[in-house]
């Protein structure tokens, strides 16, 4: 007998009496505006906001936010960087990216999370190898709770999807909070309609 059948056989034999599967209710969300709660949650998790530029020039905004940046790589057509993603053959080539730019599908007010998938990233490693990440988000696309996010069943038919909440972080040494543990050092959200 192979290991698969041995394991499944033992599991079947040892399963305790059945317990029914409960429905997951949609808990009533807090009062107050989704946008305000989203902003507070992002800030709490170490993220920042930048006001959308009045003249609509996102490239200039990124230049002002990161004056030292040399390599800017954008996965959204709204920003033209200087590292085209369609020429990337290996994800590791993005290691020199100073600023990545991507548009999120939606945000979650409860936690300040941003839903990003391989469709938005084009090359997934962009969200982790870049030193800094700028995420564009339509302010009308903010969900209330994680139940709302996980209630969107077909969102999860992607190969890769991530709820990104603030920058990479660690508190593994004496509980001291460090941003930029292994991934992005900063995460900046720009609320701008799609």
């Amino acid at each position: 007998m192979n290991s698969r059948d041995r394991i499944l056989g033992r599991v079947r034999k040892n399963q305790p009496p059945v317990v029914p599967l409960p429905a997951v209710p949609t808990f009533d969300t807090d009062s107050g505006s989704l946008l305000e709660r989203f902003i507070a949650a992002v800030v709490r998790m170490g993220g920042k906001f930048a006001d959308p530029p009045a003249d609509g020039d996102l490239g200039a905004l990124i230049g002002r936010l990161f004056p030292e940046a040399r390599v800017i790589c954008s996965a959204t057509p709204e920003v033209v960087g200087n590292r085209p993603l369609d020429q990337v053959r290996e994800p590791a080539e993005l290691n020199d990216v100073d600023v990545g730019v991507v548009r999120a599908l939606h945000g979650v007010a409860e936690t300040g999370s941003l839903w990003l998938t391989e469709v938005q990233f084009t090359v997934n490693a962009l969200g982790f190898l870049a030193q800094h990440l700028v995420v564009l988000l339509d302010p009308t696309r903010i969900l209330g709770t994680l139940h709302d996010a996980y209630g969107r069943r077909t969102d999860f038919d992607v190969r890769y999807g991530v709820l990104m909440t603030g920058p990479s972080a660690t508190a593994d040494i004496e509980g001291v909070l460090i941003h930029g543990a292994q991934g992005i050092r900063t995460l900046t959200v720009v609320l701008i309609p799609a």
Partner: protein, 458 residues
């Protein structure tokens, strides 16, 4: 196999008072942060009930959900392996890598691979393994297992980390700055991410209806481990399977709130299918779980989502440190899991508890941890795995506590005895209670004497 002596091992931890005090304070701080999060969520207790029921449903239908998960994972283009035990798991990892000529592995934190003792197995066969979680990496470089399932190096102070890093990755031994140490690890690790032939993660949840592997991290190291190398391996304990995507929402709402007191981990990653040109392997590991499922009193421990809340709240864990348990899983959850691996080796662990029940009341999936601890004590006593002194003490205590006459006589003489007995009779090898503490002064009269005098006439 040698019996773990938890009390003896703890005494070494307790000797280093600055470490002990920090450890106790840091973990209690996590507990308090957890409390602030949970009181802020009106539905918290309802979520606990829901999470527990989903897990109990999944475990009582586990074979069907494992098959459904496998079917969907295969449809997504992943390769699925099954491992009955640690040895088979390690061999599968080696074979997958070896057959593709892969000799370097970057990995995210996985308690399961620690449980399987995978690193030494691969390293002696020519595969280099890089732990990329900061805490886990510190422990790897110091040749120690993790002491906590969420914060692996929580028992170390910054000076300890500075010393380990200076001896291994070449940092300045005199620079104890935490930012400097973390940045040094980032710089040291990045080239390994870029060059690794394979990446590896564990799993927080495996979703049957989609074949998705869900991994929760704060550092982003799991996403780097999966999104760069052409070959990825996910090792998953069979109890991690849950039915639906919507169930993930219930657990993600609870996991980091219970663990660290933050509303969510910085990254909650969903790996469902390989990238173009990449391979995705999934190893479903039993290693004692199917047997535990058949233990009427103990199968509930399989509901565990590894948040560590029970450890942070446990007064014994906070003051003895995870390494003193001598097992992959320490603290209250370890106390009830470890004996299923080896009853004799871990027979002292269920006694590393005050049975205060705090672990049970913070558990997000409502595992009756302290009741299971008590049940393990009964089994260990029945199977005569108790040390002689404890057994004799319990036999005498049982006789005395079982008889009102004997009990009253004992309490009255003990009160007198405490005042007059020479020290060597109270502070000796046979009295564990006298070892680390002075016994309190005995009251002038017993409760019964007080009661009879003040209330007995009514």
């Amino acid at each position: 196999m040698k019996r773990i002596d938890h009390a003896e091992a703890s005494s070494k931890f307790i000797e280093a008072t600055d470490h002990l005090e920090f450890h106790d304070r840091r973990l209690w701080d996590l507990r308090q942060k957890r409390d602030r999060e949970t009181v802020g969520l009106a539905e918290w207790e309802e979520l606990r009930t829901l999470a527990s029921a989903i897990k109990e449903h999944a475990l009582t239908h586990l074979a069907d959900y494992l098959e459904q998960f496998e079917r969907n994972a295969l449809r997504n283009g992943a390769t699925v392996h099954w491992a009955t035990d640690a040895a088979e798991h390690n061999q599968i990892v080696f074979d997958v890598m070896h057959s593709r000529g892969a000799r370097t592995l970057v990995k995210a934190k996985s308690m399961l691979t620690d449980e399987c003792d995978m690193r030494p197995f691969l390293e002696t066969r020519g595969i280099s393994v890089m732990e990329t979680d900061l805490g886990e990496r510190i422990q790897q470089l110091d040749n120690e297992p993790p002491s906590h399932i969420v914060v692996p190096a929580v028992h170390k102070l910054r000076a300890d980390v500075a010393q380990v890093f200076s001896e291994t990755i070449g940092t300045d031994p005199n620079n104890h700055d935490v930012h400097y140490l973390a940045e040094s690890q980032r710089q040291h690790t990045r080239p390994y991410f870029l060059a690794a032939a394979a990446g590896m993660t564990g799993a927080n949840f495996a979703v049957a209806e989609t074949g998705t592997v869900v991994v929760c991290t704060n550092e982003g190291n799991a996403d780097l481990s999966v999104n760069l190398p052409p070959l990825t391996i996910h090792s998953i304990g069979i109890e991690k399977v849950i039915p639906r995507i919507e169930d993930v929402g219930v657990f993600v709402r609870m996991l980091s709130r219970s663990a660290l007191g933050s509303p969510i981990t910085q990254l909650t990653s969903h790996f469902r299918a390989p990238r173009d040109g990449a391979e995705m392997h999934i190893i479903l590991v039993d290693n004692g779980r199917s047997e535990r499922l058949g233990m009427a009193d103990f199968w509930y421990s399989l509901k565990c989502i590894r948040c560590g809340a029970c450890m942070n709240t446990c007064p014994v864990y906070r003051r003895s440190g995870g390494l003193s348990y001598g097992a992959t899983y320490s603290g209250p959850i370890g106390v009830i899991i470890d004996p299923t691996f080896n009853l004799r080796k871990f027979s002292s662990l269920p006694f590393a508890s005050t049975l205060n029940g705090s672990c049970t009341s913070v558990c997000p999936v409502r595992i009756n941890i302290h009741e299971q601890i008590y049940k393990w004590r009964q089994i260990i006593a029945e199977k005569s795995q108790l040390p002689f002194v404890k057994k004799e003490a319990m036999r005498v205590a049982g006789a005395v506590l079982g008889s009102p006459t004997l009990y009253r006589a004992a309490v009255e003489t003990a009160g007198a005895g405490l005042e007059h007995l020479p020290r060597f009779m109270m502070y000796n090898r046979l009295n564990a209670w006298g070892r680390q503490r002075e016994l309190p002064a005995a009251p002038k009269s017993t409760f019964r004497q007080w009661y009879l005098k003040n209330r007995g006439q009514r």
